[in-house]
């Protein structure tokens, strides 16, 4: 049962010359190929983020709920909270300790009151462990309109917070991709919506409605106002523009929002059912 004398394992392989040059060429070719694919993808999707608008159920505020490509799933961390000193009484929807530190840049969490829990948002600042708790429903609910009819009170409830810079994919390839949306001031958006809605109400006409883009200055005055996507009907476009014009001035921009102007994409949605 002795092995043939000529059977050597190690030395035989040792004699094999590695095809170094082809390997290098192959590696470079692969790198080039993937570079082309990745950069190409980013170019096609990143050019001038087309304002695309989230349509929620009527009268429910839609603040930048993304429907882009879902971000890679995050690990659900066990809620690590600071030692409970005097935690506020817990309520069904509000189980996060609120603090009297409003000026601090707290990472934005999902809002209360809306069943539409789309992507949870995070602020660009690295979240502290205590704040990393994510809602259990994150990403399990599609961002389309909630199935259950929303009570009328829901209109007053806050819109979902905008997409934080860190969530989602910056080069999302879905039909709805938000560029930047670090504007977690729910009350502000609600007031703007209310003011414009009031002015538009009497003039709303059934049919395709335009999308407009406008800017608000720090003092609340209207800065720029343009049609971003025409309704195809010049009169409807004018009615929409006038509603925004008449609704100004708006509240002064939140003090800790640092930009000089707030740029808003707004989709008018005609609701024949009356909201």
């Amino acid at each position: 049962m002795a092995l043939p004398a000529s059977f050597h394992i190690g030395p035989a392989l040792g004699r094999l010359r590695l095809p170094l040059a082809p390997a290098v060429v192959s590696a470079i070719a692969h790198v080039a190929f993937f570079a082309v694919v990745i950069l190409g993808a980013s170019v096609w999707t990143d050019t001038r983020t087309k304002p695309v608008f989230v349509v929620l159920t009527p009268s429910v505020a839609a603040v930048g709920s993304p429907r882009g490509e879902p971000a890679p799933p995050r690990v659900e961390e066990a809620p690590l909270r600071p030692p409970p000193t005097e935690l506020p009484r817990r309520e069904a929807a509000r189980d996060l300790p609120a603090r009297d530190l409003p000026s601090r840049e707290l990472p934005q969490r999902d809002s209360v009151g809306l069943p539409d829990r789309s992507l949870p948002t995070r602020s660009p600042a690295p979240p502290r462990p205590a704040d990393k708790e994510l809602p259990a429903t994150a990403r399990t609910t599609p961002t389309t309109a909630p199935q259950t009819p929303i009570r009328r009170e829901a209109a007053a409830a806050p819109p979902p917070p905008p997409l934080g810079a860190a969530s989602g994919t910056s080069t999302g390839s879905g039909p709805l991709t938000l560029s930047v949306s670090d504007f977690p001031y729910a009350w502000y958006i609600r007031q703007i919506q209310g003011k414009i809605q009031e002015r538009w109400l009497g003039r709303a006409i059934p049919g395709q409605q335009p999308a407009v883009v406008f800017e608000i200055r720090r003092d609340g005055r209207l800065n720029v106002l343009t049609i971003d996507r025409s309704s195809g009907n010049a009169y409807y476009d004018q009615v929409a523009l006038r509603a925004i014009n008449d609704a100004s001035p708006f509240p002064p921009l939140p003090a800790d929002f640092k930009k000089d102007v707030l740029r808003i994409g707004l989709q008018f949605v005609f609701d024949p059912t009356g909201g």
Binding site: A35, A61, R89, R99, D100, A157, L178, K195, P251
Partner: protein, 444 residues
């Protein structure tokens, strides 16, 4: 082999470079939208539920004042028409973030969308208050705004009014009208004095004490003086008083033969339109205050009176019975281009909105009621009906509210109304009749 490697490398580099060149210019990204929102047509925006607990005393012991300020702020917010105040008792302990968070959580559960935390320091006669406004619709209870105000003890209600106006500004983009005054006429028949009160009817005080008949007070646009007609010298002459300057004497504006009445300030405060009957029958004139120069605007055998300026200062609406019954007319500020605004009815007391549209007037048909019409003459509509006589409207500086007199309770009292006519609130409750209100501009 080496050559092949080099070629491949070059190829890669070229590909990467060209891709980099295709990248969109940075300008396109700078145009990025910060936030996307929807607006649906179909429902009117609802009132915001706001909680105003008693103010937190930082210095001092006057808890009654801390309570009063909160209740005045709450009432102001209710009257603004934008808010519904959530009932609250007690105050938030000072410097206790946990208690604050707990309070807001409780209010959020009760349906509040926003919370006002007032902090008060009383140092002798000085009052310092800080208003912190919180958003209660998210678990963070984010601070919307904070602002400090100072005042003196006798002016404590103004402190609350200023806080309320700031809150309205933060939510609507336009300051509220709580820090304003009402001037009006009070008194039993035989003597009528002019009274100035907070816009909500509180802190009323006489500004005339001449035991004569004093009528039709109208605030100047700088809110420092009031023009009025008085019989204090035996004839209906036009005067001006300075309610906030105790020592300053009353100034005579017009004391011509006949009637001197119906003052109407131009928006810049430099001119006063008025009615004089010195040339026979009542005509509208314009007085240049700096020079005393008088210019006659109307020339008609009928009565022309009650001038009111458009906010642009270019036009004047007035009452004329040249068409038979009194109607509302509009003319240019030099008296030219007269046109009739209202038709078929008995119309008096035009009041041009500080926002330009509409013009409010009083129509008599059985009872007196308030009506509104656009300056172009379209869509006249009734604002009051079926509740006694309602007349003598005056605009709040925001153009959203009116004060007027009504005898719906049996005697003349002052009321507020939102300009859509939907909500009405009684302002004065006194045993004497209150008439002829004039709502001041925002106080300086």
């Amino acid at each position: 082999m080496r050559r092949l490697t080099a070629a491949a490398l070059l190829l890669t580099l070229a590909a990467v470079t060209s891709l980099a060149l295709w990248a969109p210019p940075p300008a396109a990204r700078a145009q990025a939208v910060d936030v996307y929102i929807n607006v649906t047509g179909g429902e009117k925006s609802k009132k915001l539920n706001i909680a105003v607990p008693d103010f937190t005393l930082l210095t001092g012991t006057d808890t009654a004042l801390a309570k009063l300020l909160a209740s005045v702020v709450g009432n102001d917010l209710t009257l603004s028409g934008f808010f519904s105040v959530v009932a609250a008792t007690g105050s938030i302990p000072a410097n206790n973030p946990a208690a604050l968070a707990q309070t807001w959580s409780a209010f959020a559960t009760a349906g509040a969308h926003a919370g006002v935390h007032g902090l008060l320091s009383i140092r002798g006669d000085r009052l310092e208050a800080e208003m912190r406004l919180y958003d209660l619709t998210t678990p963070e209870h984010r601070l919307i705004a904070s602002r400090k105000f100072e005042s003196t003890a006798p002016q404590s209600r103004r402190l609350a009014h200023k806080i309320a106006d700031e809150i309205v500004l933060q939510f609507t983009g336009e300051q509220g009208v709580a820090d304003t005054k009402l001037a009006y006429v009070v008194g039993p028949p035989g003597s009528k004095e002019i009274v100035v009160a907070d816009y909500d009817g509180a802190a009323a005080a006489n500004v005339t004490r001449n035991a004569s008949i004093n009528l039709s007070p109208v605030w100047s646009p700088d809110a420092r003086s009031i023009a009025f007609t008085s019989f204090m010298n035996g004839y209906p002459d036009l005067f001006r008083l300075f309610p906030f300057e105790r020592q300053r004497p009353v100034q005579t504006l017009a004391s011509f033969v006949g009637i001197n009445s119906s003052p109407g300030w131009s928006p810049d405060g430099r001119y006063l339109a008025l009615t004089l009957s010195k040339d026979g029958n009542p005509e509208v004139y314009v007085l240049t205050l700096a020079t005393g120069v008088l210019q006659r605007l109307t020339r008609h055998a009928g009565i022309d009176t009650e001038p009111t300026w458009s906010p642009s200062g270019q036009q004047i609406a007035f009452v004329s019975d040249r068409a038979g019954q009194p109607r509302i007319f509009i003319m240019d500020k030099d008296g030219s281009n007269v046109r009739q605004l209202t038709s078929s009815g008995f119309h008096t007391q035009p009041r041009w909105s500080p926002k330009g549209d509409p013009i409010i007037y009083t129509q008599r048909s059985g009872t007196h009621d308030l009506w509104a019409i656009s300056p172009g003459g379209s869509s006249p509509h009734q604002l009051t009906s079926g509740q006694g006589d309602n007349q003598g409207a005056t605009w709040a500086p925001d153009g959203r509210h009116l004060a007027f007199q009504s005898n719906r309770t049996g005697r003349w009292q002052l009321f507020f109304m939102s300009v859509d006519g939907l909500t009405t609130t009684q302002v004065t409750q006194g045993t004497n009749e209150a008439t002829s209100p004039s709502w001041s501009p925002r106080l300086p």
